[in-house]
């Protein structure tokens, strides 16, 4: 999350008045960018990963661990590290060194929404050179070392998706009182958020637009001694500081659920995000579509979020919590009240799974699209008048159904078509599981696609493994011209399925049976062979026949050929292996890649546990655990310590071996 310019943010009632203007200027900026960049060709594959950390602070004497709110100090220390700057690293928002052309560039660090978070990215993007792939894991480790070196000795950067006791009493340091004016949360103080004016404004205006606080209800995991029905005992029904304190008295906290009431509970989660540069806009659109059905699969496979606010949850991943944490929909948009003032009903939060496909691909059947997709028709018309094709115009006209949340008064003076600020205002506050990113104006960057569903993993070995796996998948998709299309509604359904506890081994996901194309390559790459063009087009049967429910193991490792059906899904790992077999890969690289692919293979087949399962088992096996779903301070302390130890030893000392195997 990059920092936008400082200025005077409008409060929601003011921002609302100019929403139409911001949208319309954003669309003009988009058209200018698109006109400029639609012909960009032959950009190299460049890609980058983002690692997000929680900064924890140990209180050894009292066996407590808290979140440290020293993000700003740590970033300042990083930005003032001369050696780091000399090596090209630093904090881009403050100061960083020059990117080295032919040599190693030090990593860079960024602020995040949570004031207890830190984000680190490589100093320059990775390429597809296989040697580059081998640099990813050491670079991730280097990032963590640098981060740690700029922290206090009792602090440590861990990569758990969420802090197990965020929102419990005494969970942050320094301590601040809850119930501040911006978040109005009864669990976390306003100081939990990055103090840059953009962030508190974002939180406040989402709440304001919504007309009440955000509501996160996560089903509680029912253990032997869990009080039942479960009524979240931490909810305070007697607060009378803000009008929003009525929320809980109006039933915001649901029975048998863990209740949370602030953006920090969602946006304070750590993710593993990968961004790819495509060779041109067409390849970008194709990658966007083809990676989209993989989102829920990778979400379930990276599951790492079994605890919220000191309770074991009955879900394994963070996704829906973030979705609800930034859900700015009004009661009318939610369908709770008749439509009077608002423009439409909105089935999804602005943080949600993808809602449409965008590739001009002969294989994209109209049946895959959502017939009820909400779009702003005027905006779509403007884009089409500007020359954009229907599919892409539909995509942006869908993103632009939202209001801009943070508007700076200074930006409303003149429309600057050489900038992207108004476009980005909407684009960057639409958090779908993929993001299609036009080149920033004035840069030589190409069209990019961001893959956003994965949960952060405890070790850098795992984070490197999943990053590289996704990179290799994209290469296999483009090389074999793979087809993963299923109806977009099924992708959304899969996203829900991915939340189920232990979905990786208990659930089935809709997935396309035959990933090989029945049509020749789309024009542009133009390598269709005579055999393909002379073959009659395969008649398309019912869409429902194209996909079925598969386990994660089947999607990743392939369906066994025991069934008589000839179209067994080959599996993502075999597809990647097949791609690698077509490439010149040196033995050392192949061996390293095999370690990564082996981890993913075994996560999928159940040999190794997800972090979510491991954390659950850790809690259940802890001597202080009472069998009542409560994750107390002692357990939290030992769990975070264990996560740190696993980060360092990666299972070599036996701790975490259920997740990682016995590493050499």
């Amino acid at each position: 999350m990059g920092l936008l310019a400082l200025g005077t943010p409008l409060e929601w009632p003011e921002a609302k008045k100019v929403a139409g203007q911001v949208r319309s200027w954003g669309i003009e900026q988009l058209l200018a960018i698109w006109q400029n960049a639609k012909g960009k060709e032959r950009d190299a594959l460049l890609w980058g990963d983002e690692i997000e950390y929680l900064v924890v602070c140990y209180d050894e004497e009292n066996r407590k661990v808290r979140l440290s709110l020293r993000q700003a100090d740590i970033l300042e220390a990083l930005a003032n590290d001369e050696k780091l700057i000399a090596e090209g690293g630093g904090v881009p928002e403050v100061q960083r060194g020059p990117v080295k052309e032919a040599e190693i560039t030090a990593p860079v660090f960024h602020p995040e929404f949570g004031r207890f978070m830190l984000e680190a990215t490589p100093g320059k993007p990775w390429g597809i050179g296989f040697k580059d792939l081998l640099s990813v894991e050491p670079d991730m480790k280097w990032r963590r070392t640098i981060a740690k070196d700029h922290m206090a000795k009792e602090e440590y950067p861990i990569t758990l998706t969420t802090f197990p006791r965020l929102g419990s009493p005494d969970c942050i340091v320094p301590s601040y009182p809850v119930s501040g004016p911006k978040l109005r949360s009864q669990f976390v103080p306003d100081e939990i958020a990055n103090p840059h004016i953009r962030f508190p404004t974002l939180a406040a205006n989402i709440r304001w637009r919504r007309g009440r606080k955000v509501e996160l209800n996560v089903p509680i995991f029912k253990d032997e001694k869990t009080q039942w029905p479960f009524k979240d005992p931490t909810v305070n029904y007697d607060l009378h500081q803000w009008p929003e304190d009525d929320d809980v008295r109006n039933g915001a906290a649901k029975e048998n659920h863990i209740y949370m009431d602030a953006m920090a509970f969602g946006m304070g989660s750590c993710c593993l995000q990968i961004t790819f540069q495509a060779k041109n806009i067409e390849e970008g659109r194709k990658m966007y579509d083809q990676l989209s059905p993989l989102g829920p699969i990778l979400l379930a496979l990276t599951a790492a979020t079994p605890i919220y606010k000191g309770f074991l949850a009955d879900t394994d991943v963070r996704w829906n919590q973030i979705s609800r944490a930034v859900d700015d929909r009004t009661p009318e948009e939610l369908g709770e009240k008749p439509l009077e003032h608002d423009r439409w009903r909105l089935p999804k939060s602005r943080y949600a799974s993808n809602s449409t496909y965008i590739s001009q691909d002969a294989r994209l059947r109209p049946e895959y699209l959502d017939p009820d997709l909400v779009i702003d028709k005027d905006i779509k018309q403007r884009l089409i008048d500007g020359g954009m094709d229907d599919l892409l115009a539909t995509h942006f006209a869908h993103l632009f159904i939202r209001d801009p949340i943070v508007v700076f008064a200074e930006d409303l003076q003149d429309l600057d078509l050489s900038k992207a600020d108004h476009f980005e205002n909407l684009q960057s506050t639409n958090w779908q599981h993929m993001r299609f990113k036009p080149p920033p104006p004035g840069s030589d960057m190409g069209w990019r696609v961001e893959f956003r569903p994965m949960e952060i993993q405890i070790t850098d070995f795992e984070n490197a493994a999943f990053s590289i796996f996704i990179v290799l998948i994209t290469r296999a998709i483009l090389s074999f011209n793979l087809n993963f299309y299923i109806p977009i509604a099924r992708v959304s359904e899969n996203m829900e399925t991915a939340h189920v506890r232990d979905a990786v081994s208990t659930q089935k996901f809709w997935f396309r049976k035959d990933p090989f194309s029945s049509h020749s390559r789309s024009s542009g790459t133009g390598t269709s062979t005579p055999a393909e063009t002379s073959r009659p087009a395969t008649p398309s049967g019912p869409v429902e026949d194209e996909y079925e429910q598969m386990t994660i193991n089947e999607v990743i490792n392939g369906q066994t050929s025991s069934s008589s059906s000839s179209s067994n899904f080959p599996g993502l790992i075999p597809l990647v292996e097949s791609y690698l077999n077509s490439m010149n890969v040196d033995v050392e690289t192949r061996c390293e890649l095999a370690r990564y692919l082996d981890l993913i293979r075994k996560r999928a087949d159940g040999t190794y546990w997800t972090a979510a399962k491991w954390v659950r088992e850790f809690v259940k096996g802890h001597e202080k655990y009472q069998g009542d779903s409560v994750v107390g301070d002692d357990i939290c302390y030992d769990l975070v310590k264990a996560a740190e130890r696993i980060t360092k030893n990666e299972g070599r000392d036996g701790l975490g071996k259920e997740m990682l195997g016995r590493r050499r």
């Binding site: 090389s479 000839s566 097949s578 490439m583 040196d586």
Partner: protein
């Protein structure tokens, strides 16, 4: 008569037969894609219904192959040149010399193979030419582990033949004679780098001492890539030879396999008549097929890591 079999580009829109086998050893990839390419060129798909025991009659081979000079193209072949400028690609060619074929033919064969690939890709040079000498395998365990692999259709009965029966590796001098041809191609600028496959340290030492152009690459089977002996790694590094992985089997095209592909059995494409077959009205060729060589080519867009084109040519002699 010379038979030139081709797969076309096997990367995109893989025909149905490839689907199950694309992930197996290169031999399966080769045989399935040869079959599939022929099938695609026949107007009616032949392998459709074998349950009732009767085979649908296949179209005459003449309708989907092309006779050109003394060679028969199976199937009819049209080149599909690369789209982007030549410098965008890394073109790797692996030439498999087959067992029991006299080594003195290799000079001509090598030129012929390079020529086919260059025409196919519309290029004037290749980046890396790897040659695979018959009977070479990286170590003795290799063959055993091969046999442990579950046999896989459709060429199951030939699977063992693919790995066994390929004769003993030839001596270094024979290989060096072949290498002179490659060195010439290198000096002509047709090939930028040369490579070999499955050489251990002993063989490498003997070989290198007598080469003018050193191999830049030594390919090792992917199964063994995590147990490459340290001495080889060190020696290769010292000699600046890159150790690359592959998943090809040693003898990619045994005569029996080719006979089956071209033959009139249920897995064949019906070019060759069965032993003693008088013909069911459809014209067929007769005689013994002798595979001469196989070449695999791969064109990768360098800075994107995308395999744009990959395929095989296999050349055989048909003798009465």
């Amino acid at each position: 008569m010379k038979l030139i079999l081709s797969t076309s580009n096997i990367m995109s829109g893989g025909p149905s037969v490839i689907r199950r086998h694309i992930f197996e050893k290169s031999n399966i990839e080769l045989t399935s894609s040869l079959l599939a390419n022929c099938t695609a060129h026949q107007s009616t798909p032949p392998i459709s219904n074998t349950t009732n025991g009767t085979l649908p009659s296949k179209p005459s081979y003449k309708s989907w192959t092309t006779q050109q000079d003394s060679a028969l193209w199976i199937p009819t072949h049209i080149a599909s040149p690369l789209v982007e400028p030549r410098e965008a690609y890394d073109i790797t060619v692996k030439l498999f010399y087959l067992p029991n074929i006299p080594a003195d033919r290799r000079c001509v064969q090598t030129r012929e193979a390079i020529d086919l690939v260059l025409k196919e890709l519309g290029a004037s040079s290749i980046d890396l030419l790897i040659v695979s000498f018959p009977g070479m395998s990286f170590d003795a365990d290799d063959e055993e582990s091969d046999l442990d692999d579950p046999p896989s259709a459709p060429m199951s009965e030939n699977d063992n033949e693919a790995d066994a029966g390929d004769g003993a590796p030839e001596d270094i001098d024979t290989m060096l004679t072949t290498w002179r041809t490659l060195e010439t191609l290198h000096s002509e600028g047709l090939v930028s780098k040369l490579g070999i496959a499955e050489f251990n340290v002993t063989k490498l030492e003997k070989f290198l001492s007598q080469t003018k152009v050193k191999p830049s690459v030594n390919q090792i089977n992917v199964r063994d890539c995590c147990v490459v002996p340290k001495p080889l790694i060190l020696y290769a590094k010292q000699q600046q030879i890159e150790l690359l992985t592959h998943n090809d089997c040693t003898n990619v095209l045994p005569p029996g396999t080719l006979r089956e592909i071209l033959g009139s059995g249920d897995k064949g494409v019906g070019v060759l008549a069965r032993e003693g077959e008088t013909g069911d009205g459809v014209e067929k060729l007769k005689g013994d097929v002798e595979p001469q060589w196989v070449v695999k080519y791969t064109a990768v867009v360098k800075d994107r890591g995308v395999v744009e084109s990959k395929g095989y040519f296999a050349v055989a002699e048909l003798r009465d």
